[in-house]
Symmetry: C2
Subunit: 214 residues, 2 copies
């Protein structure tokens, strides 16, 4: 290091001093991290919830699906709201024939159908299918996309869903998405992330775009 | 509907009344939504930021990558922190030969290296590569995974990064991930989501698991 670099001061410290302090700090951080990791020994199927008003709930869930597929795991997906996940994800999923099972509830967004009884019947059918997929040994991970929406509209009773998920096979991963996750579901979940919207392009007149929004 | 079903009351309303109210509500919701959608006409490359302490920032970014690939778009990925996105995502990305360009900064997590000068040089090299990828016409979407970490440690000056991203090609989508996104970056972004950790399985001794965490 040249003399001029050595004397470039940040907060009164030389670059060399900054480097040394950084090395010390990172060494401590790594030691602390290693110590914590050593205590983490439990392996279990996780109940994961993505909720909140922001983007990325289902996108991150599909990210998990693709990661699992990349690891040779088998995946099942139940879509409780139709009209999402069209071309994009579908084309990637097609690259894994025999490793993904997809079920879509056939009724479009709730504000498209306006038919409450049909939505309730569809939610019930999708939930029955979800239960069968979670119980069978074939799949390592089951994604229940937008289940929270259906629970929020009381198309399914949260008590029934919680009772079933509490008793799911121990090693099965289940991912639930949708805004307004019920407290009862959060209570029994292992991992809950809330996606919060800080800024949205809609506000400046930008439309939903292929490859980004769908 | 049977008489007993008709008289099952919720909040003093019959099922039929609930259905009618629901249809009316959904019709209004749909009309409002359609009206809003009609005003969204701008198409542009988005600057998307995933930040916050919760899980799902990079997972959702990879979800966007896969969606884009499924739509026939080309994607470039620059990893500013190594040691992530190993087998899982890599195997899925391999299904798209010629459509994904991946660059990894070769130095592992910062708390693994403890070498500040090497990290700074690696960050600079990754940023130079990122700029080239964003400027070339080949890619529709460029993911700068964990760029926020590098900015937070001041390995790159945020002013330089912001100046470049403000002048990026108009139709190019750029996705930036990492906790502690700088205010200057949030300021110029189109879409910002904060992933907030509500619950984490680490807290109950569960270890990172293949197919879920990596």
């Amino acid at each position: 290091m040249s003399e001029s670099e050595r004397t470039r001061i940040t907060d009164g410290m030389s670059e060399a001093e900054l480097d040394a302090r950084h090395a010390e700090k990172m060494k401590k951080k790594k030691a602390a991290r290693d110590k914590i990791l050593a205590t983490k020994t439990v392996e279990k199927g996780l109940l994961i919830v993505h909720t909140g008003k922001g983007k990325g709930k289902s996108t991150a869930a599909f990210g998990l699906v693709f990661r699992a597929l990349g690891n040779g795991m088998k995946v099942a997906i139940v879509q409780f709201v139709k009209g999402k996940w069209e071309t994009g994800e579908r084309k990637v999923l097609e690259k894994f024939p025999g490793e993904v099972t997809m079920t879509a509830m056939g009724d479009g967004f709730t504000w498209e159908t306006q038919d409450r009884q049909r939505d309730i019947a569809a939610a019930r059918a999708a939930w029955d299918r979800a239960k069968a997929l979670i119980m069978d040994d074939e799949h390592d991970l089951v994604l229940l996309d937008e289940l929270n929406i259906v629970l929020r509209y009381d198309y399914l009773a949260v008590a029934e869903v919680v009772e079933f998920l509490k008793a799911k096979p121990a090693m099965k991963h289940v991912v639930v998405t949708g805004r307004n996750a019920k407290d009862e579901l959060i209570e029994i979940a292992d991992l809950v992330t809330e996606m919060e919207m800080i800024k949205h392009p809609f506000r400046s007149g930008v439309k939903a775009q292929r490859g980004i929004e769908f």
